[in-house]
Symmetry: C2
Subunit: 141 residues, 2 copies
């Protein structure tokens, strides 16, 4: 997902394009497959000409999530991590527990899960499949 598509989507939804908003999006684009925190984005902002307050960062991340442009993960400590969505079909992620890098897995046992849910009289609305481990770079020798 590139800057133009994101900006256009936001404009269509009536959001204004501010310097802070563009900067936050460009940081997310740079980090593409890496899960990053609001704090990390804020630090990156501080390194640049236009700073953005941490509450501005949070507000912008909320806008992006609500606009279905951004994926919010919650880690085991309960903290939010973010990564831009790709417009691919339904998929899940491999997540490196060392560096936060993610990779897409184009596999989902949805039919099987649906069938099992029905057996239990559960109506399935959504699901989470997350695979954790070491990416190539971070694999211990």
């Amino acid at each position: 997902m590139d800057m133009k598509i994101i900006i256009n989507t936001l404009k269509e939804k009536g959001y204004k394009i501010t310097a802070q908003r563009k900067m936050i999006v460009s940081i997310l684009i740079e980090q593409k497959d890496n899960l990053i925190s609001a704090y990390f984005i804020n630090e990156e902002c501080n390194k640049r000409h236009e700073k953005a307050n941490i509450s501005t960062v949070y507000r912008n991340l909320d806008v992006l999530v609500e606009s279905d442009l951004l994926h919010r993960f919650i880690d085991d400590d309960g903290n939010a991590l973010y990564k831009l969505k790709c417009k691919d079909s339904h998929h899940h992620h491999l997540i490196c527990t060392v560096c936060g890098k993610t990779e897409v897995i184009n596999y989902c046992p949805l039919e099987k899960l649906q069938a099992l849910s029905l057996e239990k009289s559960f109506i399935l609305t959504h699901h989470k499949i997350e695979l954790y481990g070491y990416c190539k770079k971070c694999t211990p020798q």
Copy 2:
């Protein structure tokens, strides 16, 4: 998992059995398949003869998680929810988003996931498969 097994496991690990500890475990047993918060447990404690401070609740939940007796979920708001483990084989959960009730799904596409991870040179250490929806009771008409 019943009280006796839990108490014995804790004793074996050198933990003492206090009134608060027993009360917290019995509340978890009563709620069996329901995901509950530390706050909920604290409120239940307050209704009974022996109260337990919220920090005591958290400390006891930590002990139970570390002893592999308790499952800690993190919800989409980043808050922790708990439920006693069952000693069954590897499995995943259906989770009702209304009442927190869970049901065990004895299915895991582990082989497939392992194979896909290897293709990406990822070493898989653990994974999360969580199915969300409405349980029978909470299904909207």
